[in-house]
Structure formats: C-alpha cells, structure tokens
Amino acid sequence: MARKLNLRIWRGDATDGGLKDVQVDVNEGEVVLDVIHRVQATQMGDLAVRWNCKAGKCGSCSMEINGKPRLACMTQVASFDEDETITVTPLRAFPVIKDLVTDVSFNYKKAMEIPAYEHPKELAPGEARMEQVDVERSQEFRKCIECFLCQNTCHVIRDHEENKKSFAGPRFFIRIAELDMHPLDKLKNRKRTAQEEHGLGMCNITKCCTEVCPEHIKITDNAIIPMKERVVDIKYDPARMFAGLLKREKRN
C-alpha cells in the first residue's frame, strides 16, 4: 500500500546548505525516520542522520519536523495530511555538522559542570533504605533520554548564542533538581548554585521545554518552579541557617 510522500530535507554543512525536495515511498505505520532511511538507501547514500533505538528510548534522532523539535522515530507519517509536504531540518540551536546532524557538544560540556552526586560516607553499599515515594520524584527526571529537544527549544539559547556560556538549560536544571531531591545526596546548596552558576535565573518559565519533552517530564512545574521558589525562600529566610531546616529543604 505504498504511497508517495513529498519530503523536503535540509542538506548541507556549516558552510552552505538548503532544502532539497524528494519523493519517497511510504508504507502504513511508518515514522519519519523510516522514510529518511529509505531516501538514504535509495537516493542519497550520504545523507547524514543520527538514530539508534527506533523506539524513543535513546534520544538520538532529534530534529525539527515542520519546524517543531521532535524525535523522528516517534513521529508517524500518518499524523500529517496525505498531500502535506513534510520538511525536516536540523536542530536550530546547535551548529550543523552535516544535513540533519548537529554538534550537540554544548550539552556534554554543561553536563560536566554540574557537581556530581555525593554519597553519604557512612552508608556502605547495600545499606541504603529509601521509600518508593521518595525516589519517585528524582526518578521522573532520570527518565530523561538526553534528546536535547528542550535545550533546542529554549529561547534563552535558541535566539541568543551569547547566553550559552552562562546557561545550563532545562535538561540540566532537571539534573540539578534530581540531585537536589535525591534522598541520599549530601552536597548542599544545589538550588543556590543553580541560580548563581548555572543560569536558572535566566529562565522566565515559558514552559516551551516541557511542551517538547518526549518523556513528558514536567520540567517547569516539577523542577524549575520548585527550585526557583526555594531559592527565593532561602535568600530571604534567615532561619535557613538551622541545620534542621536545611535537612527538610533537601527533602522538599
């Protein structure tokens, strides 16, 4: 039941490039990544695209489909009108390498800047006891497949290259939140450093990141806003000096 699909693909590299129109067969049930692969195997042997799992689990196949940041392996061709041309372009916030592949090294640099998890020294391996409800909050953020669609969509860096230096981005705000809510992590002041060193203050809660997250992580509501609120509390709450409160803050 193959039909023809009009696909428009951005081809080129850092120096030059543009949209190319192709016609390609599409079968029932196929996703955009399938038709890109068909183009690659039959018409453009050197078309560059990243992918791994084809099941929305690895976050490799991020691109913009009709201008929206999406996973190509989870976007059904049938979700578009039959006569609609589907346009695929590389992520806009990151420098293009070739065709649909961009240089996402920014994200790996930011990952290295987030202070690591600190395990309580007195707790030997196997001794940890945690309630399911307590791990679930951090688990939500650990679902992240590092597709970087949220990073790509956040206007703080999408439209302002110069902000990249001081802004870790939503993916790493949830990393900080995850550690902050981790029942065992010992490192203190994660929220304050998020604000002061990782650019949390530059976020103005537009929620665009949450909208594109394929894992449906509530980036803004569950990570960014709670951290922002607590930063404000900490800043104006002299009582934070008390150890007991600090402990509770870690839990909340």
Binding site: G29, D46, N52, G56, I97, Y108, M112, E131, R142
Partner: protein, 626 residues
C-alpha cells in the same frame, strides 16, 4: 595532513555498560583511559535494556543467594556455560548493583525500602533490580555520571577535567593494532569528518556489544554490527560458541517498520500470557522434560503462582527464551498465528490499567505511539526477533583477557562463555558490570607490568590504506544492498531453525557476498557519510555471519540458541564441546575444544538427577574435575 594521535594507558572500545564499567575501574587504578564509541555518549545499546539486572540480593525472597542464581544460569545455558564465569557473575552481581547505588542510581524500592526485584524467565526467585522498564537507561546514566564525577576530580587535581579520561564519541575503530605480537593501540575514523585517528596504548578493552544487525529482524540498533567480534578475530583472538544466537520470543511484528523492536520480558514477568489465534494458551504444550518439575502444566496452578510462589510451579510463559521463541515459531508455522504472523501477548486481562502504566510505562508508550495499540485494553502481537549473541571473544574468566593476544581484553556482550547456549534475561546487565570491572582491572594490571609498546609507521600505513580503499573505487557494489542481501541469507538460512543443506547454502552465499564486498564503492565525501560507515560495518558482519554459519554446521544437536531440524534434541556428548572460531586472514576456521568441567564444589550444588539430563554417565561418575 598530519595524523591525529593520542596516547593512553588503556583504550576502551565501547561506551555501553561493559565499557563504562571497565573505564571506571582502570581510571580508579590510576591509569589514563580513552573511551571510544560510535554513537554519542550515553546512546549505546545498554540504554535500551528494559527489564532489569539480575542479582541475588534476596530482597524480595530471602531464599535467594548466589548458588541459586548460579544454578539458574547454568540451566538456562544448558550447561554449556563456562562455569567459572557463571560463578563469578552470580557471586559478584549483588555488589555491582549496590555499588551503582553509591554512585547515585535510584532503583525501584520494596516496602522495606530495599531495591525491588522482579520475576523473569528462568530465574527461580524475583531477582531483577529494575527501574520501571527503563533499567538500562538508569545503568548508563549512572555510569556516565560516575565518569563525569571522576573527571571532575581530575579537574581539581590536574586543572583539566579530561587530563586522564576522555570520551571520544562518534569515532569508529577499524583495526586493533599490534606490535611484536602484543597490543599497541587502535586505528579508526571520526564519523563526523571521516578523518583518521590513531590511539596508542598497551592495553585495549573491547566492549562493543552485539551482532543483531547481521539479521533481518532484530531488536538491535545500527551499532550492533559485531565490530568487536571481527576486530578481535583479525587481531588473532578466538570467538567461542558463535552458533548460539538468542531470538527473543517477543519482538513487535506490526507495523512492518517496527518489526523486531523489543517487547520486554517484564510483560510476561508481570503476568502477561501468550495465546494463539484460537485463543489457546499454548505454552503448556511446550514444556520440555528437563523443566517439567519447575513449570505448571495447567492454568489454575500457573495463575496461583503469582500469589504463592512457594507452593506452585511457574507459568510456562516464563520458560527460558529459547523455549518460548521456538514455541511461538511452531504455532505460527502450524497456521495458528495472528494476522501479521505473530501470537498474542496480553496483560490487559490480568492487570489493572493504572498498574500496567506504572510498571510498564515505556511499553505502553511504545505500542500506543508506534502501533496504535493500547496495551491496557488489547493484546499485543509479538514474534521472535534476533536479540543477543551468546558467542564472543574467548576470555580468561578472572581477568577477561582475550586468549592468545597479550594486552587484549573483552567484556559484555562481545565476550563469550558466560551464558552458554542461552542467556537468561537480566543476566546481561550484571554481566556487563561484573566483567566490565574485571576487564578494567585486568587491563590495568597488565599495563603496570608490560609498559608502552609503540606503533610502527608500517602498521599505521596499512590501517590507513584500508580506510581509503572504498573511496578510490568507482562504480562498485553498493553497501546498502549487500547488507540487505546478507540479512536475507542469515534470516532464512541460519535463523531460528537450521538444517545442514540450508547452512551450507548460507556459507556459500556469505562467501560470495564477502568476495563482492571487496569491491564496495562509496558515493560522496568523507564527512558524516553513512554509506562509508556501512562499508566497514559490513565487513565485520560478514566475518560474524561466517563464524556463526560454520559453527552451526558442525554442531549436530539442538541446544539453547541453536536449533537443528535435522538433529532435534540435546546430545550429552556435544555438551562437552565448544566451537572456537579463528581467522587466518582469508577465512574463518572452526575447531572443537573440550569445555572445562565443573569442579566438585559447583558440581555438588546440583541434584545428580538433574545433572544426568545434561551430562554423560562418565562425567557423572567423576563428580567434578577435582
């Protein structure tokens, strides 16, 4: 242009669970480490693992311990496993899981707040530590973050976070280099630019994962092209047990574009049942004699087991994977399959919708988005998919050193021996951790005593020439079509059911494709060119397919992931034999090698009557090797 060069103590090829664990160990032993991988950091296969990691922590049923786990692993592998690997794995798996927790991992919890464990095929007790159905993601992320933690410590000490450990992502190794018979480094190209790169190091850990892409229907990604298997062969190492491939019983079958994508075994672990188009729960018909005392032969008992595991036998849906895959294959062949050539797998009748969504969230998501099926209301259609290779590099169990090549180590799916003829679900993730750590330690010890082994210019030139070759040909073969042809051959002729004539035909066809592959030409430039990448991957897959076909031809019995239509049934004489593949520069040769016998203390862990099903009377009479 000058060649990009790097020097390290240890190279780890592969950033899946095994590679990352090896890298951590080697770095913590004070050495400098390069981690090299074909994809971006954090995207290796391990990230896709769903069900969990098997370790006998005994958190859910305190009857569990390493001995029970060891027995299950040997049974699952039909006693072809290297006993020492199975022993080390069973003993060390709990420590490796707990260690992840000290690095920040957050596993699902029991009511007492311990790490929760779930049931899986072939495991006597609930044993798989898990995080919903995204356990592999948790493993990868935890180790990725552990590596960042080590880099941050290096940053504090040396002023440069990458001073002692660096990840080289999207870089493909095409050759392992030796000088004077010993490891000297590795050569490869950057996927991004196509430019070449040399890594010099006296020790190399291969952790490149599996070979699924050799087959047409597979749960593996493009990375699973058997690179490490082929690199090791070419470097003079051996592959053991290459005839054994695991066809996971439950891959998606519809729509065609997702055919092969995995449906985790947890679906059955959580209570999913298999039925054919007549509505029959057919697995009761397929319980082999060796398992009759452990699996329920009627629905009532199978259903009771979910509530009371001490007084009932397990449902046959939880038989080891080879059994379930063959059963599904037979049902479909007998005309009792579904519309799209699978069988039905149903959780919706037994488990409430909200529990399904909580315990199997990514399965729900996967079916809803890719197949338009709501698994809380309808059955899934499933069928076998090529999932895992039991065969791999022959290693010394304690150090993970590749036999015959000083300085070479292998761990994870690319290593052989641990799983015998069939791997139990969940045993891979802990295999990665246990033997990844051992490989890192083995390599570190070796480097400390062996010292540097510089690479000669002649060796570099030979490696460089090989990369250049496909660009200098014109109008040759297309790597995409050769790959498709190979997949067709393996699928049809050395797939889940095999016979002599078909395997012989496969060997002839693989030889032909290999001859034509010498003539592959690549269109376009070097920059991120998948056609060029596939040309190299294809060469590796061909060597893997040849090893598999030739080993399969010789093994005249059916065992685990190797089923011969012309030799049905297990033969106890064959249990004493491993097939060892080696490469003479021209073709793959297979030799039979005696399998090491269990020592008495492990022999005695089993009931003799059980061992009689697998061993010859002479072996039983000996009662162990010592």
């Amino acid at each position: 242009m000058t060649l990009e060069r790097h020097k390290y103590d240890v190279l780890v090829i592969g950033a899946g669970g095994a590679g990352l664990r090896a890298a951590v160990e080697a770095r913590e032993a004070g050495l400098s480490v390069a981690i090299i991988c074909k994809s971006l950091f954090g995207k290796a296969h391990t990230v896709m693992a769903e069900g969990g990691a098997a370790a006998s922590m005994g958190n859910v049923n305190d009857n569990d311990n390493w001995m029970v786990h060891f027995r299950d692993t040997m049974r699952g592998g039909k006693f072809l496993n290297h006993y020492r690997m199975a022993e080390l794995h069973a003993k060390e798996a709990p420590d490796r899981i707990w260690e992840l927790e000290t690095w920040g991992a957050l596993f699902d919890r029991t009511k007492e707040g311990k790490i929760s464990q779930r049931n899986f095929g072939g495991h006597e007790y609930p044993r798989l530590a898990h995080v919903g159905d995204r356990t592999g993601l948790e493993l990868i992320r935890t180790m990725q973050q552990k590596i960042v933690a080590l880099q941050q410590a290096d940053g504090r000490e040396f002023g440069d976070m990458e001073a002692k450990m660096k990840v080289y992502a999207e870089c493909t190794i095409t050759e392992i280099l030796k000088e004077n018979g010993k490891i000297a480094g590795a050569y490869g190209y950057w996927r991004e630019t196509g430019e070449e790169v040399l890594f010099e190091a006296p020790a190399v850990v291969i952790a490149t994962g599996g070979v699924g892409k050799t087959f047409k229907i597979t749960s593996n990604s493009w990375e699973g092209t058997g690179d490490g298997h082929a690199l090791a062969l070419k470097a003079g190492a051996n592959l053991v047990d290459m005839e054994f491939l695991q066809f996971h019983p439950t891959g998606m079958v519809w729509p065609p574009s997702v055919r092969g994508i995995l449906v985790t075994e947890s679906v059955r672990g959580e209570g999913g049942i298999l039925t054919n188009s007549l509505g029959e729960r057919f697995m009761f018909k397929y319980i082999p004699d060796v398992f009759k005392d452990k699996y329920a032969d009627n629905e009532a008992e199978a259903d009771r087991w979910y509530e009371d595991q001490d007084n009932n036998r397990r449902p046959p849906e939880l038989l080891p994977r080879d059994e379930v895959a063959r059963a599904i294959n037979s049902e479909v062949k007998a005309g009792r399959g579904t519309e799209h050539g699978g069988v039905y797998l149903d959780v919706s009748k037994r488990i409430p919708a909200e529990v399904i969504k909580k315990r199997l969230p990514s399965m729900w998501h996967q079916f809803y988005e890719l197949a338009g099926v709501d698994i809380t209301k309808e059955a899934m259609e499933v069928g076998p998919t090529c999932h895992y290779v039991m065969g791999g590099v022959e290693v010394e169990p304690d150090t993970a050193a590749a036999v015959g090549v000083p300085g070479l180590y292998a761990a994870g799916e690319v290593a052989g021996g641990m799983h015998g003829s069939n791997r139990l679900g969940g045993n891979s993730l802990t295999d990665l951790l246990v033997f990844g750590r051992r490989a890192g330690a083995g390599a570190a010890d070796y480097v400390k005593s062996a010292g540097a082994n510089p690479v000669s210019d002649a060796t570099i030139k030979a490696a460089a020439d090989r990369i250049e070759a496909p660009f200098s040909r014109e109008g040759g073969e297309n790597s995409y079509s050769l790959h498709a042809e190979l997949q067709e051959v393996t699928h049809n002729l050395v797939g889940i059911i095999r016979t002599r004539t078909e395997i012989e035909e496969a060997i002839a066809k693989i030889t032909d494709i290999r001859a034509r592959s010498k003539n592959v030409a690549v269109a376009g430039g070097r920059k991120f060119n998948p056609g060029f990448h596939l040309a190299f991957d294809l060469d590796n897959m061909l060597l893997v397919a040849e090893s598999t076909a030739k080993s399969a031809l010789l093994r005249e019995e059916s065992r685990g992931g190797h089923t011969r239509d012309d030799f049905p049934g297990m033969n106890n004489q064959w249990r004493q034999v491993n097939h060892i593949a080696s490469f003479d520069g021209n073709q793959v040769n297979i030799k039979a090698q005696p399998l090491p016998m269990l020592p008495k203390e492990l022999f005695d862990l089993f009931d003799v009557h059980e061992l009689e099903k697998y061993m010859t009377p002479e072996e039983i009479a000996k009662g162990g090797s010592n």
